[in-house]
């Protein structure tokens, strides 16, 4: 399950197509029934046709009852990178420096400089410090410099309200679920990588073993069972917050309500659902 991208069942591309066929057949059938038995049955058939889309085939889970969102408190992140490690393990992500469902960026302003020095755990210097691409740490590369300001920014898929990746997918293999998560159907993706190009956040990558695109699912296999995403679960300082916006007292609802939050690259119109506090002008 860990390497699955969400549930196997819901495929809105096909579902809406089949739904369209179903509606057409249903309308025909309803008309036939109306002739035979009167309008009461017709109303019933129409009600059946108007029912919401089926839920994913996950026992005890109703995606129409949730609206997931994610929060990042950059003022709390200490750059320990346990989130990156947990994500790679939980989701069976390739253990190299070029494929990440989540990563952490470090911004360092040195005295007298106007621009930040930016790196992530994938930087060669940091890999040299950790000893391998499969281990993650930030090298102490600024120990001899005068640091004016420094902070870490965890990054992941923004599960946008208007996702550019979903817009460009030619088959509908990547789709937005009713509970607000953007998933990829790995059995339907043709591997054209147009979505990888379209994502302004660099959140998507090509899974070279499965020949399909891949990205963060907010650990859909966990959250639909009432668990937290792996990265949130392991964060030792509570820099990552996850929850249901339908629940006004959930951690994410309070995070958004009690802070002045911002999103990355709002000018793209993608309307991200990862909300940040404590980021700076150069973070994008």
């Amino acid at each position: 399950m860990a390497d699955q991208q969400g549930p196997a069942e819901p495929k809105p591309g096909r579902r809406s197509f089949l739904g369209f066929l179903g509606a057409a057949v249903g309308t025909g059938a309803a008309a036939a029934v109306a002739e035979a038995t009167g309008s009461g049955v017709v109303a019933k058939a129409e009600a059946a046709a108007a029912q919401p889309a089926p839920n994913p085939n996950i026992p005890g889970y109703d995606w129409s009852k949730h609206q997931w969102a994610f929060g990042v408190d950059a003022t709390k992140c200490i750059g320990c990178l346990r989130c990156v490690e947990a994500c790679k393990t939980e989701n069976n992500v390739a253990l190299d420096a070029h494929h990440f469902r989540t990563w952490v960026e470090r911004y360092v302003y040195l005295e007298g400089e106007d621009k930040a020095h930016i790196d992530s755990q994938a930087d060669p210097v940091n890999i040299a410090a950790s000893g391998s691409e499969a281990h993650y740490r930030f090298a102490n590369r600024y120990q001899d410099a005068k640091v004016e300001k420094a902070f870490f920014v965890p990054k992941l898929c923004n599960h946008c309200t208007h996702p550019a990746c979903v817009q460009v997918c030619p088959t509908g293999a990547t789709f937005k679920t009713d509970d607000g998560v953007v998933l990829i159907d790995h059995t339907y993706c043709i591997g054209c990588q147009y979505c990888v190009q379209a994502c302004p956040y660099g959140a998507r990558f090509f899974n070279a073993e499965k020949h399909v695109t891949d990205k963060c699912t907010w650990c859909y296999h966990r959250i639909t069972k009432g668990l937290q995403p792996a990265c949130v679960e392991v964060c030792p300082v509570g820099a990552r917050v996850f929850g249901d916006r339908r629940d006004k007292e959930s951690p994410i609802s309070r995070f958004i309500r009690e802070n002045r939050v911002e999103v990355l690259r709002p000018e793209t119109g993608n309307a991200p659902n990862v909300f940040y506090i404590g980021i700076d002008k150069e973070v994008g």
Partner: protein
């Protein structure tokens, strides 16, 4: 094992970790190049069929046949690129209508059918004649290809001409729509400043027209040389004029687009300028712009200004055509690969790593480009498109 599955690109500055593997390689450079040649070759044919450029008669049918041979191979670079080519039809079975790519299958299928139909009408007299004359398997093939329609009376031919005219007219928006749409695939993305431009479709279109015309100039001269017939210089000059005019327009559009990009100077412009001043100097300024575009404009301007005739003119036009074809290939490269070399962070640059062997390597790309020429070599024997001014040897 993992290092065999992908090639990672070296970079400078800050790039997103996932960006270090380029999503699109040289096959996606070849793809718009091929569709461009299709559209350009069709344009030459339409200039005769629809707009009555009689001087282009010697190449009109050849252009149509070339367009078909190229079009047959248009899907190959895409199929070779896909992670799951066996699922390619998913895009046609359940097209996701918001995607510019979803309509590719339908548009290209429509255009392929149109090309097949127009070619059939154009070559029908030859097919019928061969079917009646030849015996054996080849004769049978021609008889099957005639679809039982062997009426060559003046009335039937008038009817055919009507169809050819109609198909050629529909073909103009279809061919240019197919290629303009390729420009839209890039221009509509808001994630990359290098691509995100409303001018991308017309830039692709005009570069398509010049590359297709240039290809025909080269193919026509080579075909005359191979068959030992005289080159129709009036025809060659007309194609040279068309290439010259469209080339100036294409260059202007690219200049306007680049000027607007620099002038707007949105976020990330610093790194774009770093790219322009550094890695872009050889592939763009030297190869695409100076050698591929300015040089042929100068050569052609000189030829037409001085009224050069005969062999020197033919050589000048053919050399210019070869440079233009190279320039357009470099333009596709600078758009597709160049766009990915500028990091989405707006804070770093990547360097594309060429792959020679392998499914998406240079050898595969070269094969995809050569394959239509081999098919054309066969097709001109099956359906000779020649209209030579005089049969004597040159």
């Amino acid at each position: 094992m993992m290092d065999l599955l992908f090639i990672s690109a070296p970079y400078s500055g800050y790039v997103y970790p996932n960006e270090t593997v380029f999503p699109w390689g040289v096959l996606i450079v070849v793809y718009p190049y091929l569709t461009g040649l299709v559209a350009g070759a069709f344009t030459v044919s339409s200039l005769y069929q629809v707009f009555g450029f009689e001087r282009l008669k010697p190449v009109a049918h050849f252009a149509l046949l070339s367009s078909l041979c190229l079009m047959v191979f248009v899907p190959t670079p895409l199929l070779l690129h896909l992670g799951h080519p066996e699922r390619a039809l998913n895009a046609m079975l359940t097209p996701h209508l918001s995607s510019p790519m979803a309509m590719f299958g339908y548009i290209s299928l429509f255009y392929l059918l149109l090309l097949i139909m127009e070619n059939w009408f154009v070559f029908r007299p030859y097919i019928v004649e061969q079917g009646q004359r030849r015996r054996g398997l080849l004769g049978l093939a021609y008889r099957v290809a005639s679809l039982g329609s062997d009426d060559l009376s003046e009335k039937a031919m008038r009817y055919d001409r009507k169809w050819i005219f109609a198909l050629a007219i529909i073909g103009i928006p279809a061919a240019h729509g197919l290629h303009g749409y390729v420009g839209f695939v890039f221009g509509s993305l808001k994630s990359r400043e290098w691509w995100s431009s409303d001018l991308m479709p017309p830039i692709f279109l005009f570069s398509a027209i010049i590359s297709g015309t240039a290809l025909l100039i080269v193919l026509y001269v080579v075909s005359c040389w191979l068959r030992g017939v005289r080159v129709d210089l009036a025809c060659l000059k007309t194609m040279g004029y068309a290439m010259w005019g469209f080339l100036m327009f294409a260059l202007l559009l690219e200049g306007v687009e680049f000027g607007a990009l620099v002038f707007r100077g949105r976020e990330g412009i610093d790194v774009i300028m770093e790219f322009v001043r550094g890695p872009l100097i050889v592939p763009f300024f030297l190869l695409q712009f100076s050698l591929g575009a300015v040089t042929p404009i100068l050569i052609l301007s000189y030829l037409f200004w001085r009224g050069t005739k005969g062999l020197p003119m033919a050589i000048g036009i053919v050399v210019s055509a070869m440079l233009v074809m190279f320039s357009v290939l470099m333009m596709r490269y600078n758009v597709v690969i160049g766009g990915q070399e500028i990091a989405k962070t707006g804070k770093g640059l990547l360097t594309f790593q060429f792959e020679v062997f392998g499914r998406e390597g240079l050898i595969t790309a070269a094969c995809v480009l050569i394959a239509p020429m081999i098919l054309l070599l066969v097709m001109v024997r099956v359906l000779p498109p020649w209209h030579d001014p005089e049969p004597e040897r040159a």
